[in-house]
Symmetry: C2
DNA sequence: GTCTATAACGAGATAGAC
DNA sequence: GTCTATCTCGTTATAGAC
């Protein structure tokens, strides 16, 4: 009995995976807007009505693809944070981790551009994301926050001051997303989060064609500077911000500690 | 005869405009992937074959929409640069112009989100952008460069040093895009260009839902910081970067002057 | 209970004959 | 330009296999 159920469940999981794989192929070929249950079924040698045992609607299939894409890129980011620069707790090590997370996101996007477009590109017409996508969608952002939290705990942050008018927003953001961080850094982190995806999107979507050529080092350099905008410090020898931060961040740092 | 031709040409222009307007409506409703000449024709009370007298193919219609969108946002950016802060040549005035250009881009995107998605969102499956889109696509970037060029000429730039490995890329970028600027600033400008659209895309595409609430001031603040990364200076009283830049940018500035 | 297959609806796209 | 016959699509109801 349990063996039977086990076999059934395994079969169900396999068919579900096959459906999603085929759907991803169609995503690449035709785009999310034209994803069709019938075409997926046809390609799998099934009948379209049979798919409804696995996904109650086309939109639910889309949701599954979206959630898996968010989870996949989120996992890549988490793995990069865990793996890279495990050894150091020096300021530069935290910046290296930040860069590693960003490079992992970019690498994932380059490897799976159509899934990237699904989650970070134009919204799919007629589709509204359900609650289930919210948590996976924030995983990459949470990794970035975690990197900054580590740095804040171990070596402190060098932050530019925050405009007064953004105080309430910063307090709210920090309370919701990063209770362990000073509110002033919440705004730069959210900004850097979106700017990181600006860099990736421009590369993936072709905006850098005929413009940027040395893309690896360009990206690496840009996200390193992004890391500085959230208060991460590079080696003192290298950065204006690093040197300047050390010299005049007393006020900002004091303020960042609240 | 010339009157007749004038009338004909006027009619042709009007019909062409009507086609594009209707196509834009469909863009909003169904997305670029599903833009269909037939549906446009139906809505206009024409027959699909008649449209081919105005646009030789669906892709050419798409190209026209893309070019007009790029031109429209580029014009908004150019107008913002011309109009705003005309009075000042102080460092803060240049930063204000930078912010104004960014806000113009964002305002345009908020007003025409579907056209924004057409040009800065996921590529349309099966469509490859022809040469004709390249120049319009670079207009916003050129405006940003112009703002920085003005600042460089009038008050100088405060730049962080550039990684050695990016030297060749920076020289090439500067030679192609901004002959009037020191190469070191070319890389930050291109980065800021893409990051600006990261901010806008996250707002337009819904990534900021349930995250950022005070969006106007958040954006304003973020692009002001972005302006600093390309060497624009704020008021000395306000920014860490401003004060720090004044103090220790001798080396960077010397270097930026080559 | 779990799944697949058949058939159908209403809507829209498409190709070709006229 | 018009009309029609033939495709596609998402979705459901129903019947039958395991």
């Amino acid at each position: 009995m349990s063996a039977i159920r086990g076999a059934r469940e395994r079969a169900r999981i396999e068919v579900t995976a096959a459906i999603k794989d085929e759907a991803r192929k169609q995503l690449a070929a035709e785009g999310a807007a034209k994803l069709s249950l019938r075409a997926v079924a046809r390609e799998l040698g099934m009948v379209s009505s049979a798919l409804y045992r696995y996904f109650p609607s086309r939109d639910e299939l889309l949701t599954a693809l979206i959630v898996e894409a968010y989870d996949s890129v989120g996992e890549a980011a988490e793995k990069a944070r865990r793996t890279v620069a495990r050894d150091g707790s020096a300021p530069a090590a935290h910046l290296a981790r930040w860069v590693a997370v960003a490079c992992a996101v970019r690498g994932w996007a380059l490897a799976r551009p159509h899934e990237y477009a699904l989650i970070y590109g134009s919204p799919v017409p007629g589709y509204t994301a359900p609650q289930a996508t919210i948590a996976p969608a924030s995983r990459v952002g949470l990794v970035l926050i975690a990197v900054v939290e580590d740095a804040h705990r171990e070596v402190g942050l060098a932050l530019p001051p925050l405009a007064e008018e953004l105080r309430p927003e910063a307090e709210r953001l920090a309370a919701e997303l990063a209770p362990g961080l000073p509110p002033a850094v919440a705004v730069p982190i959210v900004a850097a989060w979106s700017q990181l995806f600006g860099l990736v999107s421009f590369e993936i979507f072709g905006q850098f064609n005929r413009v940027v050529e040395a893309r690896d080092s360009f990206f690496r350099h840009a996200v390193e500077e992004l890391g500085r905008t959230v208060g991460l410090l590079g080696t003192a020898a290298r950065g204006t911000l690093g040197a300047a931060g050390a010299a005049n961040t007393e006020s900002a740092a004091v303020r960042a500690q609240r």
